[in-house]
């Protein structure tokens, strides 16, 4: 039995989980400092990187810390001095480092963090949904969501390139387990990143006050600048997209050209949903998907171009609504919103097929939970 299916591309093909793919991309990015605290299901990323540092494959300082709060504090400090930095976390780990996430964004320091997106307790649950990464929305980070191990690899490289141009930290989301622990074929592209650049660096001997107490309108101005620059980072994301894969920038449009019905989703479970869309297409239903590759900056333009029938499927909620449902509606689009797959609840092709069928038949409530 032989096939030629996976022979495209020039890089080496390897079977890698998204965790392993991210570690490989980080190795190519050659960070100076990595600091992390282990948490399921992210741990294999930093375990792999620690191995690389130990074996000499990767020339970086791996700082073992006692908490995620310290991990982010360490990379904040290292980035201030001009180091290329990386960390990874999940769920409660992200919650624990939350304060420092604001500091690094507010300090306008480039940094890359992988988030294996997982439920936050209680009740206790180690499985996948998007609750944790969505909590970063207000902190001033670029937030990307990959769909495959290949995209996790490409997006991690893109993250360094974009973050260091726009001076905004970049989080790369991968679905817990169904991506983090699932091995797929990844092409290790021969990518090379430009030298580290950033807006400022503080070196020994310099006399400067960093983040001193702000008076008057300084804080307001800083927040405004960050908001504007985060919006503008879309251009840099679009521009660098082609260098690290080619996915369509902020969004991937799947079978949308002539679609009457559009599904809006993000993350690793989009693959199953696309298979369900193909089934409906075979039946003549004009349905497609707008996959949000980025949550920040939010792809407002692409959302506004959607056909009139829109269903947003969310894996994280705010009150009774889904978060992406709320964000999409905030662009002035009328949406149906379904919350599903919380706590790693398996949502497969058949589930999506039934759900999309109900949507097309006009039988969905404004907001529903797929329980």
């Amino acid at each position: 039995m032989r096939a030629e299916g996976n022979r495209n591309g020039s890089g080496v093909k390897r079977l890698l989980t998204s965790n392993e793919a991210i570690a490989e991309a980080v190795k190519i990015a050659k960070p100076d400092v990595i600091a992390a605290y282990p948490i399921t299901p992210q741990s294999p990323i930093v375990e792999k990187l620690a191995e690389m540092v130990e074996s000499g494959e990767l020339d970086a300082s791996f700082v073992r810390v006692e908490s995620e709060h310290s991990a982010m504090a360490v990379i904040h400090g290292a980035a201030t001095a001009g180091a290329r930095v990386f960390t990874a976390t999940s769920s409660h780990g992200l919650a624990y480092m939350f304060e420092m996430c604001w500091w690094i964004a507010g300090s306008r320091l480039p940094a890359v963090m992988a988030v294996a997106t997982r439920s936050i307790g209680a009740p206790w649950n180690i499985h996948g949904d998007h609750t944790d990464i969505m909590s970063l929305r207000d902190a001033g980070w670029i937030i990307g969501m990959a769909e495959s191990a290949q995209e996790a690899f490409d997006m991690t490289l893109q993250a360094f390139a974009v973050s260091e141009v726009v001076n905004i930290p970049f989080a790369v989301g991968i679905d817990a387990f169904t991506m983090s622990h699932t091995a797929e074929i990844v092409e290790i592209r021969n990518a090379k990143l430009p030298e580290r650049r950033q807006a400022y660096r503080i070196l020994p001997g310099m006399e400067v006050a960093v983040n001193a107490v702000t008076m008057g309108e300084a804080r307001m101005k800083a927040r405004y600048d960050l908001a504007i620059d985060l919006e503008k980072s879309a251009e840099v994301i679009e521009r660098t997209d082609g260098e690290f894969g080619s996915y369509g920038g902020l969004v991937e449009k799947y079978r949308l050209e002539d679609a009457e019905y559009a599904v809006v989703m993000a993350g690793g479970w989009c693959g199953d949903a696309k298979d369900a869309i193909d089934m409906l297409r075979d039946e003549g239903v004009r349905i497609g998907m707008l996959r949000l590759r980025f949550i920040r900056p939010f792809p407002e333009k692409a959302v506004k171009e959607l056909p009139s029938e829109v269903l947003v499927v969310d894996r994280a909620n705010t009150g009774i609504k889904g978060i992406l449902g709320m964000e999409t509606a905030a662009c002035g689009v009328e949406v149906k919103n379904v919350v599903a797959g919380i706590g790693g609840l398996d949502v497969g092709i058949d589930d999506f097929y039934r759900l999309f069928g109900k949507f097309v038949d006009g039988k969905l409530e404004k907001v529903e939970w797929l329980i």
Partner: protein, 171 residues
Amino acid sequence: MLTEVTIYCRGGQGGVTAARVLATAAMLQGYYSQAMPQFGPERRGARVNTYLRISDRPIRRRSVIKNPDIVAVFDRKIEIDSEASVVILNSPEPVQIPSRTYYVNATEIAERHGLVNAGWAILSAPMSGAIARVLDIEISALKEAMHIELGERAERSFKAAKEAYEVIKWT
């Protein structure tokens, strides 16, 4: 064509390793492949499923396999609660089930090759040999995959895999 395989085994028997070895072997033969462990607390001896997908087109789905084409059972004591048309069994003799059954005494092969750890025979090697045979994966690809996935453990494992590949029987 997409082939979906579910491996039924116990924690520590090597189901995840087998799936990875087979996915890599399929990759080496030009296929797209995916190896997915069952997610949950890992506990030696507890029953776990591992999922393997092989296709000539990119694999997008990442949900668990609900209706596998093939079920591979590492421990005969695990109940086969599937209607898969093909079953691959670790067993010295065939069992009476409606599915087409392949069987090989993987435990005996593993033990004879010294593949035992903490009270359990490690079945990843002979069972990946057996499954590779059923999937029509070439023995050379299996060998290379074992070197990629197992490193220095590959040599001994491959001997066990090759034996299972050759002696597997079917009903």
